[in-house]
Symmetry: C2
Subunit: 539 residues, 2 copies
């Protein structure tokens, strides 16, 4: 068994050689010339031409990376087989609905009790507008999307240590922080504090900008007024006819606001990954991978637990057992292998590969922990009582956040919200509880923000990713300088094996990372295969 | 004919007297006690109890105000008839679809050429989350809503005088403005510029906040970095596998940004009326008024042009003619009248009312002009090429803005966008053109932002509200101190006549204004009627 040195061709040269510049890519280049587009890592649908006849690729895993590879490689003419441990495709792009069963390590078995039509995405749950790969698959597969709003002006920012534990509307914190910053900068400008740094003309322009942007009064103060209300909201809203006149709300003073720390959450509103537009598939995140799976159903074998991955100069041999019953291993053979098994699992499977890849696998094998809890309530009190339609409330409690559903807004009936999204130590604490306890804990903590929890709670489910038998965590860590040292070694083709998944991407935890990783890996694999075949022919 | 002095009962006393505190209102008060709700002007579904038998109310206009009044008064037991000039209900909450005809003053007649499934809202087009009245009607009538996003990080801010006329992504302007403000304030703090205003501890906290919020480096500078990229976006996005490494984008320098004036548009992102969550009905804005109209269809007479409004101590008499054919007037009589005719029109109709009301009508009769243009394109290039899904691009060109559709996002096919929303002088310029010329002008100007316009344009429609025979403008102006001097006189019941509509609200131009105005007017009218009847009984 050999460990071929990796070809050093650049991606650009590679693209040129195998002629993958598709129509979409040409269009994209034209757009870039017009100055429209950033250089996205996704350049349109992949086109793999000239696959040698009767070449087989074994794909391990039917999450996003495996599905994309199976779809594209089979379209390119390869003989493809997929082995998947679970009995569903899509991996962490999972959706739980009423009746679904979910089993964690430790024997924790849950049956989702949601009412019909309600669902919960315990893993991937949102798609940024610049994740062109997943959006393109959704488009080609005609999966309807809807808006997912991360930021909601009327949702809360909550600190158990500020404002007596009373949650503050996002718009209060945002407007008031901006107003106080503008007032302070204006004060400094008016005191000549920045005269060395600015011309007199620029100083005047900046003062005018601070007054306008910060909504300052004629004396450059940020104080209650209807102008400020038009940003942070009124105490009494303007009405009709002879209803009460509008009344101004009172800004939070700068010291209280600064000390509260709530302004830290404003960053979510200035985040490339979370800003508008974001999407979710109508009906649940699994709709997109499910649509892709439907295209390649016959290629996928569920319930296959990989126990050994072997290769030599001529091909790969992967042993697997029945994921539930175990028993004697079956061996699947192929010319090449794309392995999308998470590093947390792969690091525990005997693998015939060179030290660089194996060291890289180990380096990022301790996955980041996270736990999500989905809660069904008897009524959508967050909309009915508090006028929060979608978006996220952030808190310093161990639940980290509460996210409100986009579907079924403003209609009567029950609703499911994300009641906890715990990371790190908080996730371990949640994961140490059994699922019913986790749900109770999410309800107990969330009730500090929404007192209606106590009365309206219906049922809940929870997924502690550290207890998922197929991932042992949420995503690959790449902490510190690990990426610089090991990432390239992880991604290089090792003999006849390539790896793919969010772990082999620079977009950890995102579906787009798994998709781009897969597209890149199969492009290089295809190039290697074509090159090998051409070498044989010419040799 | 008399002009009764208006009763001076307060709204609170009135509510108490007629017992309108419904279940929803009680709930709302409980919420307020919990500190959840601002004091909204909408306190839940109205409940009008004790309507005297055989009491008739004539309603003029079947826009939002008229529909709400007809629905609620007929439910309360009143005999209701509605006269409407148009042959559709909903007024300015209008939707144009393929095949619809629209005729303006001057004989401009258009037939909408949109493909099936596409539509355009030339009037009302969005619903803020705090417009509780319209949201409650949508809920009770089970009209499905979807998210309407005003702000889109990836849409453009455009000035023909800055950046060589090249549009800038919203996220660039937002991140860079924030970064430069933070850097300047940090500089001032580090130079001791605000030492008199802050304690040393607060100064340190503020410096830390500026570094975090503004994404400044260790020397408090706002410069290109992956941290900044995580807010404004990358030059090359992070990818998968061995794709090109991410590259940082370059912030715009503070002077260029300040001089461009583009930061002025950031206010839309901090606007109580335009922040998340906003809504639109699936399929077009007219879906909600249409659902309300369906509840009261037999009460509404279309094509009725009111030519005279008379009243005496015993009732009202309204003369109307066929809106198309004219001819001899018909007289409709009733005990009371709710007139929702826009002041621009009402000021031209002989009306038996006291001077205060008549002066108020004249004072706000010159409506604000606006023109909207809807453009259908052969493909959704703003999504396919430029990754703009919904939201608004702002420009200093006479089109003011381009708004992208929320429906059908990320699916192949044609699309309709708002190609112009012109106000004031720009609106008059547009309105002076015939509809085909307006469409051509919107395409010509919009092409400065989207060069694809030229090739992809399909067809368009336009509504110049100043040329609408039923409104002669977009909404009532209430300029300067007009509201202080005349608003109450407009809203007071004059004898047997009350007025309602957005013009009789503190929410001009919004559907919610018309709805709250109507609810307030019919509440007072009902109280007056009950009080009169009780007076007669006791007298």
């Amino acid at each position: 068994m050999s460990n071929n040195p990796t070809s050093s061709i650049t991606r650009r040269a590679f693209l040129g050689r195998i002629g993958t510049v598709s129509g979409a890519a040409v269009m994209y280049q034209a757009m870039s010339a017009l100055g429209f587009a950033a250089e996205s890592s996704y350049s349109g649908p992949i086109e793999l031409k000239g696959a040698p006849r009767d070449t087989s690729v074994l794909i391990l895993g039917a999450g996003w990376a495996g599905l994309v590879a199976a779809y594209e490689l089979s379209r390119a003419g390869y003989k493809v087989k997929v082995l998947e441990y679970n009995h569903h495709a899509g991996g962490r792009a999972m959706t739980l609905r009423g009746g679904d069963e979910y089993t964690e390590l430790g024997g924790f078995k849950q049956k989702c009790q949601f009412d019909q039509g309600l669902h919960f995405n315990p893993g991937a749950w949102r798609i940024p507008y610049h994740h062109h790969g997943i959006l393109d698959y959704a488009r080609r597969l005609k999966v309807p999307l809807q808006s997912f709003n991360q930021v909601n002006e009327n949702a809360y920012l909550h600190s158990s240590k500020a404002f007596g534990g009373k949650p503050q509307r996002f718009r209060y914190v945002r407007s008031d922080f901006k107003g106080h910053v503008a007032e302070l900068l204006a004060k400094s400008l008016n005191q000549g504090g920045l005269d060395a740094a600015l011309t007199a003309e620029d100083r005047e322009k900046l003062l005018a900008a601070m007054r306008s942007w910060g909504i300052l009064d004629k004396d450059y103060r940020y104080v209650a007024s209807h102008a400020v209300d038009s940003s942070r909201g009124y105490k009494v809203d303007p009405g009709g006819g002879l209803m009460a006149k509008p009344e101004s709300s009172t800004p939070v003073d700068s010291k209280t606001l600064l000390d509260s720390g709530l302004w830290k959450y404003l960053a979510t509103d200035h985040d490339y990954e979370m800003g508008q537009a974001m999407f979710e598939p109508v009906g649940g995140m699994d709709r997109i991978p499910q649509a892709l799976y439907n295209e390649i159903k016959p290629l996928v074998q569920f319930g296959a637990k990989v126990v050994n991955i072997d290769q030599d100069a001529h091909g790969v041999a992967v042993s697997y057992v029945d994921a539930v019953k175990g028993g004697a291993p079956t061996v699947a053979k192929a010319d090449w292998c794309l392995c999308t098994i998470p590093l947390s699992i792969l690091s525990q499977i005997p693998l015939q590969a060179g030290e660089p890849m194996k060291t890289a696998i180990s380096a990022a094998a301790a996955y980041v922990a996270s736990t999500k809890v989905g809660l069904q309530f008897k009524r959508r009190f967050w909309e009915e009582d508090e006028r929060i339609y979608g978006g996220v409330t952030y808190t310093d409690l161990p639940i980290t956040m509460i996210s409100y559903p986009m579907e079924g807004q403003n209609l009567p009936g029950k609703g499911v919200l994300l009641g906890a999204y715990a990371f790190g130590p908080n996730s371990y604490t949640f994961a140490s509880l059994d699922p019913a306890q986790r749900v109770r804990e999410a309800v107990r903590l969330g009730a500090q923000i929404h007192p209606q929890y106590a009365k309206e709670f219906d049922n809940g489910v929870s997924v502690a990713w550290h207890r998922s038998p197929t991932t042992l965590g949420c995503f690959a860590p790449w902490r510190g300088d690990t990426r610089d040292r090991h990432y390239d070694n992880l991604c290089q083709i090792d003999g006849r094996i390539a790896l793919a998944g969010e772990h082999a991407s620079r977009l950890p935890a995102w579906q787009e990372g798994a998709i781009l990783s897969s597209l890149d890996a199969i492009s290089r694999l295809h190039a290697r295969i074509v090159s090998n075949a051409s070498g044989k022919k010419n040799g």
